[in-house]
Amino acid sequence: MAINKKIRQFFVPSLTPAFLIRAGCVAIFAYVLFGHLLTPFRIKGHSMEPGYQNGSFNFSWRLRYLLSTPRRGDVVVIRFAGQRVMLLKRVVALEGEKIEFREGKLFINGKELDEPYRQLPCNWDLPPRQVEANSVYVVGDNRSGPIQNHYFGQTSVARILGGPLW
């Protein structure tokens, strides 16, 4: 009987002031955590394969760049439109650096960049260009498609919301 009562109390708790305060605290904590610090997102697209698969689930850790700036090789979450459309890309060049694609190979300041995360073939060609101040150059890991269809380029550091949790 006592167990039954406990189970019933767990699933259908009585609305006591203490319970309401606890529920309120949990709701506020969840709102702050999942709304502003650890935002959940689902990956839609193949541009970060094989590291991040289409349809997989992750969290954006918003405090990742609170005390630091993005570095080369970091995977970042970029605010693309409004508060709901984000891009997941890899930082390949920092401000002031010169970036170029030659026969699928990525060159930073004229030196070829070692990219162990890129496993799919690429044949991109892009003339050299310099990354502007307060910006970073981001590209997806999967560059097997045509260059015209891929979202990449330089973006303002202010648009970087954080990084994926894993």
Partner: protein, 199 residues
């Protein structure tokens, strides 16, 4: 000089007595506290009314601005098998939503500069031709009113559909728009597709 008529002093004293009777024993008489509370309540009510009024007014302004985006999305969207009359009506509608000249900046299409209504209608007609089915939705509105007859809007435009070649399209872009009030109607005078990634 005006002299009081009748037993004025007595009346005042009786009034004091009446009010003093209501206050707690040992406390000073609450002669004006009742009046003060009444005035405070009136002031609070007027403040609340003012806040409610300004909020309602700004919301109705926002609603009118949002409605223009809703009309634009309706006019730009295309259903499969759309007939020529619907097309004509929609194109006329698109024209009526814009100012005489509208600055349009779409970096991906290398389109930048002021366009007159006819040019906008022609451009929209050509753009719609690429799609067998087109659905445009606007959301995430951030609306501000820098001037009485100006509305600055930052929003997300989502474009879904199918091209005439059967390719599925699903794109989202951040837009910055400026609408001006002309003859009690909000019309688009500036549209920019924000270039987040610059190749």
């Amino acid at each position: 000089m005006v002299n009081p008529v009748g037993n004025f002093e007595k009346k005042v004293k009786s009034g004091e007595k009446g009010l003093a009777r209501k206050s707690a024993p040992g406390q000073p008489p609450m002669m004006f506290s009742g009046i003060k509370v009444k005035y405070i309540l009136i002031v609070l009510f007027l403040i609340a009314l003012g806040i409610w009024g300004s909020l309602t007014l700004s919301q109705s302004k926002e609603k009118k601005v949002k409605k223009q985006f809703h009309l634009l999305s309706e006019a730009l969207s295309r259903e499969p098998g759309e007939n020529i009359f619907t097309l004509d009506q929609k194109l006329k509608k698109i024209g009526s939503l814009f100012d005489e000249t509208c600055d349009i900046h779409i970096p991906a299409q290398s389109l930048s500069g002021p366009l007159i209504r006819d040019e906008i209608t022609g451009y929209a007609a050509r753009a719609r031709l690429h799609f067998a089915q087109l659905n445009i939705k606007f959301h995430d509105f951030v609306i501000s009113f820098p001037a009485e007859s100006e509305a600055r809007v930052r929003l997300t435009g989502r474009l879904t559909g199918k091209t005439t070649y059967g390719e599925a399209v699903d794109e989202a872009h951040e837009l910055e728009c400026l609408l001006k009030k002309s003859e009690k109607k909000w019309v688009f005078s500036y549209i920019e597709v924000v270039e987040v990634l610059k190749k």
